[in-house]
Amino acid sequence: MSRLAALFVPLFPLAARLRAEPELGREAAAVVEGEGPAARVVAATRAARHAGVRRGATLAQARLLLPKLAARGRDRECERAAAEALLEAAEQISPRVEEVAPGTVLLEIDDAARRLRASADPERELGRALVRVAVRAGLPARVGIASSRLAAEVAAQGAGDGEPAIVPSGGEAESLALLPLARLAPEVALATTLERWGVTTIGELARLPPDEIASRLGEAGRRLHAVARGLDPRPLAPREPPRELREGMELEWPLTTLEPFLFLARAALDRLCRRLDGEGLGCAALGIALTLEPDGVDERSLALPAPTREAKTLLRLAQLDLEARPPGAAVRGFAFTAVPDRPRAAQLALFGPPQLSPDRLATTLARLFALLGPDRSGSPAAVDGHRPERCALVPFAPPPPPRFAAEPRRRRGLLAVRTLRPPVELEVVVDGGGRPRAVAPVVGEASARRPEVRGEVAVAAGPWRLEEGWWSAAPVAREYWDVELAARGLWRLFRDTASGRWFADGAYD
């Protein structure tokens, strides 16, 4: 029979909340369910429990005991993310994982234990590893190992912090014997019959002869009896991994400014990136869903140039987007969704120039994207046409480096032109032949941030005619001149032949 490990997070609603707000763990705090006077404590921190706050107490009763009790409502968003994080932590150890309930996960560990066969106690070591991965995911889990589902769950519930509780193979029935029959969750009719027989514990049921049970209680009774004896051959139900990773939070009060939102968002994105890191994935696109006050949802999606798992970059992107398009109302909840993708891979060259590390490159590209905004970084691409100012950007994806570094060749430098985008409009004095003699920026064009194109023309060469798109609605027809201004540099000017206006669109440098 397969060996199973149960990963159990005690007080799961509280643990999920503390994962999002770790600083709350040091205070007397409780998670409550319900509104107003009907709010009841679901789970409380150690400090609160020490003061007498118990599960099921109303918030008013709890506050009588502890006036400074910090109360938080149940946060389904946090709980869902925590449950997913627990499953992902378990999947780091074994691919066969089933979620029994939020905060309880079962996994098959035969293969994983076989890998640790060199160890003196592979199951114990595996149990400790499970605790570690859960703690890395922000959840204080307990681990039980047994050969049946129920025995593993019960062992996990009774395990200590950090140390797994192990039920040896064959000892499942004994470990379950003292538990009340209700732990088997029998059907109502079965429960009534067993109660009439005077069977109150699992051990009492296990001691009854199996054939007699099967003949009197049928197939359902036989299955129940097998579970009571620690025999549970049901395989784990496989889980389809979600296509997106999600982290979020429901807020205690609506937020109207960006700064406190960014503080909470940073923590959520940190958790999201830790999960991506655990899976060896990067975030290819980030979805933001904002729950607005009083109702409504603002959803937006941000595409990234390359998969990244850097929380700071994702936060910056979210900040830029929210600053550019603020939500129309106060925010009372949010969720970040990461569309995961494999990070770029590359084969490093042995003798050629070093290749950029794909992971670092992805982070750099995402940072640039966040810093400069869309269409401000990438590889330049040549564009068909004749207008000098034309340009395009494509995603930066350099080809692999050559296998061997090329010997440097002596190069002839070529004169480069700085393109002025947009062109600077000029007033130009021309001679009788139409050659420019003096230039100055038109009134209003002179700006502290534009280069100053002004002065007597010392040398002028031209004109060169450029015509493009004469068949289109916006044809371009220009006459180009290269001019040298006295001690003011070399410029490329053009006259728009349709309007007669002059512009400088480049500086030779």
Partner: protein
């Protein structure tokens, strides 16, 4: 001899170290000789400083300098000053007035790097790159990352990200004057110089006037620019190119070379 307090900031220690190390660089011809000189200097230096700086990555890098960027010696004017190529891990500042060939020099370096199979990044504050012209210059566009910041703050942040990203050449072009906020950012330039040293990457800053201050490991200028024209007088003219003299801005920034070889010549086509 330097005798600072052990409470010196890291930046202050680096600045104190810069000059002695530069003098050692000028004397030592081989890495082994350089290492010996550095160790001897440390033994002579005041003990709190020596204890402090021995742990610094920058000093380790100084003791075992990275290979120079050999491809940068492809340009005759650069090769005249740096026969082995510009040193990696340095901030090289090129300052020149307009139409002195500054942008042409930057593009020539980018072309040399990308042609040798390395990747390069151009942080283009003036948004001045003409991709078609760059391709003609020899730039492998697919190996070039073009960042188009809007102001100096974005420029510095983008350059730092690119240095952290492992680009072996990061060229920062500050465009035509005036550079908004071009002066007064010495601390940020020091930070960039440190990032270049840690990478180690060649960081080339092209500016209309000197902006990097003491952060520049090598400061060069393009002096006496002159446009060359075909034709004379009232004949039809044609721009043939321009030339300027590439010279170190400070005595310690280059070795003496043949004057004619230091002339940067850029042809119009």
């Amino acid at each position: 001899m330097i005798g600072p307090s052990p409470n010196l900031s890291r930046a202050a220690v680096e600045m104190a170290l810069a000059e002695p190390l530069r003098q050692i660089d000028a004397r030592a011809r081989t890495p082994a000789a350089r290492r010996a000189e550095v160790e001897a200097w440390l033994a002579r230096a005041a003990s709190p400083l020596a204890a402090r700086v021995r742990t610094m990555r920058e000093l380790q890098a100084a003791a075992t300098p990275p290979e120079p960027a050999a491809w940068s010696a492809a340009l005759p004017a650069v090769a005249a000053l740096f026969p082995a190529g510009l040193p990696r891990g340095e901030l090289v500042e090129v300052a020149a007035r307009r139409s002195a060939g500054r942008f042409g020099l930057v593009l020539a370096l980018v072309a040399a790097a990308t042609a040798s199979g390395e990747n390069a990044a151009l942080v283009d504050l003036g948004d001045a790159l003409d991709p078609q012209g760059a391709a003609v210059t020899g730039v492998a566009l697919s190996r070039l990352l073009w960042a188009r910041p809007r102001d100096l703050k974005q420029t510095l942040a983008a350059a730092e990200s690119l240095l952290g990203g492992g680009f072996p050449l990061v060229a920062v072009d500050l465009g035509l004057p005036p550079v908004p906020g071009g002066r007064g950012a010495e601390a940020q330039w020091l930070r960039l110089a440190r990032a270049a040293r840690a990478a180690p990457a060649l960081l080339v800053v092209s500016a209309p006037y000197r902006v990097c201050g003491v952060a520049a490991g090598i400061a060069l200028t393009l002096a006496a620019p002159r446009a060359r024209w075909h034709g004379a007088g009232r004949e039809p003219r044609l721009l043939a190119g321009l030339e300027a003299r590439l010279a170190p801005a400070r005595p310690q920034d280059g070795e003496e070379g043949a004057e004619v070889e230091r002339t940067l010549r850029l042809a119009a086509s």
